[in-house]
Symmetry: C4
């Protein structure tokens, strides 16, 4: 089966999940002090940024992985669907964090849920990655498949970081959000080699 | 007419309908007990999962069917449009179920509407499927067309299951939702054979 | 300039505008009579159907026109952008109609706005169409360009029908919505010939 | 790395951000004077128009730039991600302006935020542009790269205009919005030459 339509569907979900995040930036209800109301929204902006970065960077890695795949099979489609279901949830924990990170009662719950969502994505992506590269199942070339797997050996660090974020949610919610943002940047490191193929519309 | 832009438009609707589901996960209004409020939202999570699975799996089958089509005609475009209209509605019954499945008064109505929406999708997909494969109209190869049609003989089981779900809505709403979820998984069975063609961006 | 990315962007706007319509189907607030509340929502369902049909059918015609175009230029891109701006508005008048069509005071205003939105789309599409086919500017072949233009001679009927709908809004709002729906079906007639080219992913 | 999937993801974000703008056109709550309520919404329509134009025109320029790129690298992907994050925010300042431009207290804050959002997009686009054309890094041909860079020498005018809009927000909010709209039209001028390549689905 061709990978192109899988990419189109996946790109759609990634792009929509990222762009829907903006709906959680709520315009303050009629107020006479709009500037200060806008400043008080900073947790929502921070959550928007961390979540869009996370989605965008997962997209880059997803993109890179699929560039290496010569074909996909039905199991891959369903594993990928689980990943998309996890990515699609992101606007919900993002809204939770934006609204509750400064609340004495709700911050922990909000950031635990955020971290669980991020873990879900990381686990699903790892599953997709391992399935595709295992036994050079979908990656055409044996040597290439082994090299990509080797590059992926750092994924557990991301998983550990998200777990740390969940733990931090109980003591320092803002630090927890910072860890989630830094983990996104960690995934931005070139874990997966880019194909150097030229061109192609 | 080429199938590629039809795919792009269809993929868009599938991806958006799936991703919009998250908007029905409403952040609890200011509460001092966020954790328990989040736990009480479980029906909304369950409805999100069942609906995204349903959309994703219909997408896989749609994808597979179009891979077999050599071309599409105008009637096919309009049948497909009916399917997309049905898929696009999904967030509405999903929100209904998430909000009313535990309500003594509303659960039955919510799950009947959900089932009718699912039946609409199943009927429209069957229509698209029969139109495309009948008399090897769009599928280039006669033998292949007949084989695909044979694979589609199990579709009525899905229709029957959704009807069962509607009936169950009157006595056991939660069981009804479970039937809808299981029916999605039924459609995940490889009813339609995957082309084994290699490659191609 | 290639037409493919223009198609991707346009398809995105068409698909999103269609799928966002569902957000105007509002789940009734906590009620003990959900079934009757859902029945009373019928104007919103009707508006959803008419608008999705309109968008879908305009998409088919847009698709068909672009299939005939060998290339696009910058002016075409901006004319097309005006069309997309008009298509993107559709969820707003649709929500208006769904909410106000049965209101003694608001129905006329709602259906006038709906009709103006539809006229905007029709005018913009006609502009895109005339620009592309005039003097075989974008359509490669002179004979083909003339034939397509000839096929488009029926467009004014659509414009007249929308104008009729606006007029009817003042005396019979429900009939006005019916006219908008029928006009969508009119545009579904094969005004533009489909290329018969085979294939192509 | 191929540019095609980058385009698909970018097109998705552009198209969604544009189409989500309509959600900020809020249907007036039950009112007996719908027509006048709709007329009073004119700032929201104006903001919709200016923002959709801005997004659409940035899209055309983005499209044009990528047509010239033979390949993209990872840094380009991340610069582009920053651009998409900025584009994705647009519905938020648009809603702010639509709601507060006529308010004595909030108009300045709303239009300052709008201008900062526009500046963010302009700066990110300039970054993407300079990265791609510098030292003919991504544009294959040295002469072409130099020519494109030369065409881009007018970008600072756009940046200056947005800065002017921010300044105007403090004295004349409506004029400030007009400047943002005119700046979008400025970017519509053919700053970047269109490739004249023929064809190609």
């Amino acid at each position: 089966m061709r990978t192109s339509r899988l990419e189109a569907f996946s790109d759609g979900v990634f792009a929509i999940a990222g762009t829907l995040l903006v709906l959680e930036l709520r315009v303050p209800a009629d107020t006479t002090e709009l500037s200060s109301a806008l400043v008080r929204l900073w947790p929502a902006y921070a959550a928007y940024l961390v979540s869009f970065l996370t989605i965008g960077i997962i997209w880059v890695n997803h993109h890179t992985l699929l560039e290496h795949c010569k074909r996909v099979d039905r199991r891959f489609l369903y594993l990928n669907l689980l990943l998309l279901i996890a990515v699609g949830i992101v606007p919900f924990p993002t809204a939770l964090v934006g609204q509750y990170i400064l609340s004495a009662d709700g911050a922990t719950a909000a950031l635990v849920v955020y971290g669980l969502g991020a873990l879900l994505i990381a686990v699903a992506f790892t599953g997709v990655f391992l399935y595709a590269t295992n036994d050079h199942r979908l990656v055409g070339d044996k040597v290439e498949a082994r090299r990509i797997r080797w590059e992926g050996r750092l994924f557990p660090i991301g998983l550990a970081a998200y777990t740390l974020g969940v733990a931090l949610a109980f003591v320092a919610p803002v630090a927890s959000l910072a860890v989630y943002g830094l983990t996104a940047l960690f995934y931005a490191l070139p874990l997966l080699p880019l194909p150097t193929r030229v061109g192609g519309h």
